[in-house]
């Protein structure tokens, strides 16, 4: 049974070992926008006075991602440093997506991205974005994204037909994604 998580809600989730120790908490969620897969998490310490930890948690070392915690086998799951995260974050062609614009290939701005929606399971997948519409001012839409055309610091460009498949809530996203997938298959 699939559940959906908002990437913004994963921030500050505790990283918990199977022995029940909260060894860190999630700082940034880094994902591959083209494949829609999670790459890694950057981490902070736990507690009021804790700051960032210079250690990354690679997706392949994660035991499970849930609504209340990121589970790992033990403390060895964390990398010794945050090198892997830095390489992914600093590489060209990405950016902080919250606040970036979503635009279609034919030049229509669909809105501003306010969240990234992830379908959980064995292999979590980014299935869409929550967008505050510019056309219908203030209205929140959920747009399925199977594969963006391109991503930069300022915007995510998606196929033109994406605008035809918006959902009013997260629950409607899978159906919208299926509709978009079929239309894209027809078009190619």
């Amino acid at each position: 049974m699939s559940t959906y998580l908002r990437a913004r809600e994963i921030r500050e989730e505790p990283v918990v070992t199977l022995a029940g120790e909260d060894i860190a908490q999630v700082k940034d969620i880094v994902f591959d926008p083209m494949r829609g897969t999670l790459t890694c998490f950057t981490l902070s310490g736990r507690g009021l006075l804790a700051g960032p930890l210079k250690r990354a948690l690679l997706w392949k070392k994660v035991h499970a991602l849930g609504p209340d915690a990121v589970m790992v086998r033990d403390g060895k799951a964390l990398e010794e440093d945050d090198q892997a995260a830095r390489e992914s974050i600093d590489a060209p062609g990405g950016g902080h997506v919250i606040g970036a614009r979503m635009m279609t290939e034919d030049g229509t701005v669909l809105g501003t991205i306010t969240d990234v929606i992830i379908e959980t399971g064995k292999a979590p997948q980014v299935i869409g974005y929550e967008v505050v519409s510019t056309a219908q001012t203030g209205r929140t839409l959920f747009l399925p994204v199977i594969k963006p055309s391109s991503v930069s610091e300022e915007m995510v460009v998606v196929p033109a037909c994406t605008a035809d498949f918006s959902a009013g809530d997260v629950v409607g996203l899978p159906a919208a994604a299926e509709g978009l997938r079929r239309r894209l298959e027809q078009e190619t």
Partner: protein, 49 residues
């Protein structure tokens, strides 16, 4: 002035410093949702679509 006024001022300063440290650290712990870069560094190999 009475000595206790200095105690109150001292405690107020301590509280202000402590709460600003806590606030700074909370900001440093806060994270973002980041699309990792997908284009190869340095070279231009075209779009990845």
């Amino acid at each position: 002035m009475d000595w206790w006024i200095w105690v109150v001022i001292g405690l107020a300063v301590l509280a202000a410093v402590a709460s600003s440290v806590v606030a700074v650290q909370a900001r440093r712990r806060s994270g973002d949702v980041i699309a990792g870069g997908t284009r190869p560094r340095g070279g231009r190999k075209g779009r990845q679509t």
